[in-house]
């Protein structure tokens, strides 16, 4: 009877990869270390891009933040502790990088011209105003509006609430994982999450009501 091999969890697999990379680096087999790390990058890249984008709301900034986080994780793989999941450790690096970028952006914006704002007061990428190659212009407009509203409302959340909401809801992390990623207490995470949801609902309802009112008045003016 063949011995049953227990399935390796993602956490164990990550820990093994991290150990391999560390060993390769120590032995000077850098090509192999990089190849192994490439697997990790592939596994977490999309998730990292989502988190960074929701955090920074700028594609180029998010791209750089993700790259920097992966580079930093590779360079400090020696300090990775196997008792923590790699994902959690990496997310912490990514979030810290995003926070630094946000701070730098705020400092920069103090000295620069105000960004382009849409009628809801949400910053928009100038490229959004260009015609796109969407399937249906009406669908694209409605979808973009919905997303802009949502992203605008998320951006209005206080920083901690936003971080907890994004990690819990967008990324599907448990309160314990979010606690490990952010360094917040688990019960604090739950409180922040609840408050974020309540506030977000309030903001979106208010925005929808404002939009409807604006639409009615526009039609009346016509």
């Amino acid at each position: 009877m063949a011995e049953q091999v227990p399935p390796v969890s993602a956490r164990e697999a990550d820990a093994r990869v991290a150990l391999d990379i560390r060993a390769f680096q120590a032995e000077g087999r850098l090509d192999e270390a990089r190849d192994r790390y490439g697997e990790v990058v592939t596994r977490y890249q999309r998730r990292a891009a989502r988190i960074a984008y929701h955090y920074l709301r700028d594609a180029a900034d998010a791209d750089e933040a993700v790259q920097d986080a992966f580079i930093k994780a590779y360079m400090h793989i020696g300090t990775f502790r196997e008792d923590l999941p790699f994902e959690v450790w990496f997310t912490r690096i990514l979030i810290n990088g995003c926070l630094d970028r946000l701070k730098a952006r705020r400092r920069r914006e103090r000295w620069m011209a105000p960004p382009m704002l849409d009628p809801n007061g949400v910053e928009r990428d100038p490229a959004d105003y260009l015609p796109s190659r969407g399937p249906s212009p009406e669908e694209v407009v409605l979808s973009a509006e919905r997303r802009q509203q949502l992203m605008g409302a998320v951006a209005e959340l206080p920083e901690r609430q936003r971080m907890v909401f994004m990690l819990s809801h967008f990324d599907g992390r448990s309160s314990r994982e979010v606690s490990a990623m952010t360094g917040l207490n688990e019960s604090t995470v739950r409180v922040h999450l609840f408050r974020a949801i309540r506030r977000l609902r309030g903001l979106l309802v208010t925005r929808a009501a404002t939009d409807q009112g604006t639409g009615r008045s526009n039609r009346a003016n016509r």
Binding site: G38, T42, Q45, R50, A59, A62, D63, I71, F194, I197
Partner: protein, 201 residues
């Protein structure tokens, strides 16, 4: 069920309890029994699902697979640069530190300053000394040189009245210093002063 829910909400669940239940926390029994609360839970769950779907769609639209592939390649390239040993660009061979010859040896700037100060001091002292010495320079020259002068400076042309005192003094001086051996010879030759006076008349 919480006391607050019983007292303030007629036994219905609070938003917090509802959210906790939806997000995978404790699921109160009330939720199964109360149609209103289960409807609220469904609505909230649907709303949260929509929000999540919209947010993920927005992020995935910005980061399509092509962009992710490009990002992956950039990350790997940057890692390669980090791992590669740093290259040091060598300077041209001429610029390599060659031992300096004696003539090329650089003088310390401090010595230049010292030399300039010494030059200035020497100049000042020398100037002072020369200024004190200059008045004494008009002292008469030694007698031997004055003896030779009459023969050299003797005017060939007619003697004017203004030159007479000079000639007289020259004659006097000459007579004073003429050796006695030459006096006879002097007496045999006509006196310069007398000759000049005679010609002037």
């Amino acid at each position: 069920m919480r006391i607050a829910d019983i007292v303030f909400r007629q036994g219905h669940l609070s938003e917090e309890a509802l959210t906790t239940a939806i997000l995978g926390g404790d699921r109160p029994a009330h939720l199964e029994q109360c149609e209103a609360c289960s409807q609220r839970a469904r609505d909230l769950s649907l709303w949260l699902g929509n929000v999540r779907a919209e947010a993920l769609e927005a992020a995935d639209e910005v980061f399509p697979p092509e962009r992710l592939a490009l990002q992956h390649a950039q990350i790997m390239r940057r890692l390669e640069q980090i791992d590669a040993p740093p290259r040091v660009i060598a300077f041209p061979a001429q610029a390599v530190h060659a031992p300096r010859t004696h003539s090329e040896r650089r003088v310390s700037p401090a010595w230049v300053g010292v030399a300039a100060a010494a030059g200035l001091a020497i100049g000042l002292v020398g100037g002072q000394i020369s200024a004190r010495v200059t008045p004494t320079a008009s002292v008469p020259a030694p007698a031997q040189t004055q003896q030779a002068e009459p023969a050299q400076v003797a005017p060939a042309g007619p003697v004017t009245a203004t030159s007479q005192p000079v000639n007289a003094s020259l004659t006097t001086d000459w007579e004073r210093y003429v050796p006695e051996d030459l006096l006879l010879l002097d007496q045999a030759t006509p006196s310069l002063l007398e000759t000049q006076l005679a010609s002037a008349r």
